[in-house]
């Protein structure tokens, strides 16, 4: 089927353009750095454990607490990378082919145009899933092998990270059907910026009990729900203890409702349909 031909073409392009090796190499470097950092922090902390961790069971709780925090911090970086990778690889996927005219030989084949849009999107989505499993799974394993700590809900958490990336992918796919690559990249990053800032406004607003700030944050997350997916993922993947410790970066004062997941899926589908709609009709 021609849609899958386009998808496999997307893989081949990533491979030939060395995307695969760069992502793998730097991903490994990231994991290695994390492992080394985690190791030395552990060594340091265990040399001078706080009072309540001097007993055996207390120590165990303490270590899993440290591991949980570290893992979430690592995942925070991965969430960033997921957004960046999704945006950078997809901003030019269609826009670049339009501006270089390579699209002309594709769309003049006896295939519907939406096969090209969805075929590319599918290819990038599969690569995104692999990336998330590699990076988030890698972090989880590093922590597990070092301390035996395993986070709650790893599958659900990673799925939310994938969903976050898919949102970015779908926006970039849509933008690419009518914007040049650069403008499309700016569009995606600005939307991400809104979501990011909105998320913090919401958190701080909730901490200070400011109704308006929370509202503003919610509106921002409706405009761009990607950051909310990360917050829900981190909420799922951390032990309750951290949440009580109210660690500022990673714990939630204001929890998004589960309905946001449904909203996010609908959101990305709307963008995909809009991408197909625009691309089917535009001059090439």
């Amino acid at each position: 089927m021609s849609l899958l031909t386009i998808t496999s073409l997307t893989f081949r392009e990533a491979w030939r353009k060395k995307l695969f090796w760069v992502a793998l190499g730097l991903g490994l470097a990231f994991l290695a750095l994390f492992a080394v950092g985690f190791h030395y922090v552990l060594v340091d902390i265990l040399a001078h454990p706080p009072g309540e961790a001097r007993t055996g069971p207390g120590m165990k709780i303490f270590i899993s607490q440290i591991s949980g925090i570290f893992l979430i911090l690592g995942l925070f970086a991965v969430n960033f990378l997921v957004v960046m990778m999704s945006a950078l690889t997809s901003a030019g996927a269609i826009a670049g082919e339009i501006s270089s005219h390579t699209i002309q030989t594709l769309v003049t084949k006896p295939i519907p145009r939406w096969h090209i849009v969805l075929g590319k999107w599918l290819g990038q989505s599969v690569m995104l899933v692999i990336y998330v499993i590699f990076m988030a799974g890698g972090l989880t394993l590093v922590v597990y092998f070092r301390t035996g700590y395993f986070p709650p809900n790893p599958a659900a958490g990673m799925s939310l990270l994938v969903l976050e990336g898919l949102i970015v992918l779908s926006i970039a796919t849509f933008g690419g059907t009518f914007l040049p690559t650069m403008a499309n990249g700016v569009l995606v990053f600005m939307l991400y910026g809104i979501a990011f800032a909105g998320s913090w406004v919401e958190q701080i607003g909730a901490a200070l009990k400011s109704e308006t700030a929370v509202q503003v944050g919610i509106i921002a997350s409706l405009i761009m729900p990607s950051e909310t997916m990360w917050r829900m993922a981190s909420d799922l993947m951390q032990p309750k203890l951290i949440q009580e410790a109210a660690f500022p970066l990673i714990s939630l004062y204001s929890k998004p409702s589960q309905a946001m997941i449904v909203y996010a899926v609908g959101y990305l589908l709307v963008f995909l349909m809009a991408a197909v709609y625009v691309f089917e009709r535009r001059d090439l």
Binding site: S2, H101, T102, Q104, T105, L106, T108
Partner: protein, 332 residues
Amino acid sequence: MCLEWLQENRHLKINAHRKLSRKIMTQPAISTANLRKEYGQTVAVQDLTLTVPAGEVFGFLGPNGAGKSTTIKMLMGLVTPTAGQVSVLGQSPGRPAARAKTGFLPEHFRFHEWLKAKEFLTVHGKLYGLAAETLKTQVPRLLEMVSLQDSADTRLSNFSKGMLQRIGLAQAMLNNPALVFLDEPTSGLDPLGRRLVRDVIHRLKEEGTTIFLNSHLLSEVEKTCDRVAFIKKGRVIRTDRMSDLLNRATEVHLRVDAAPPALAEGLQKLGRQVQVNGNRVSLLVDSPEIVPEIARLTMQLGLKLYELQPGQTSLEEIFVRIIETEAEGDLV
């Protein structure tokens, strides 16, 4: 035995193909009516009415910016017309099925340059819906046809301009098309490459393929096209059979011992633009059949005829004349 079977099989296929092309031939390959395309304020194609008979090599000529490429894009469904009707092989070009029997070499021949030549043809063959089995023979055959068999495993990023144009041409023939659009197929080619393209066009024509050709290389067009349309500012100003066009423009030179007014008057009836220069006279005639008439006239007037030379005007001259003349009436 196997070989025989293959040949037999091939024969059947060719016959099937012929039958199909004959069926298609009963209707024009392309017909448009009052086709128009605006890009914002710019009118790229104004009012284009055109019929391309099946099985012919059709030249689409006109100055830069006349709207030739835009027309091809409308015929391939790349661009939606602002107004007017288009039918390509009896179908609307926006529909994918209409493109199953067409091939296209775009003006800007840029392809996925991270693919190797062989892979490029294979991928595009798959997009045409061809089976892997078919492609195994089709791809090497086409590579050879465009003299790129030695570069089958070279990435397109290492191809020269002319090589890219040739692989693009091969790509346009993957599906044994009934209709091929070539937008300036020789713009990047050396004389050998141009000859190669000419041979390819001849071969396609023999197989019954209709070819729609945009080109500024009029000597090429003159050698390959059966019919040409001249377009200017997005309108067809003239369509002609190539042979008629070249014959019609026959310019005749004669040298006589004297050129009395009676000669000029008589010639005026036979042709146009009679020019007398001492004992040399030239005129334009619409048909080669006029040439003996001219000889008879000089005899009747009792003149001595030293030279009577019918010359052929080149397509280039015709092009310049047609494009530079605004109204259609006083051409040539």
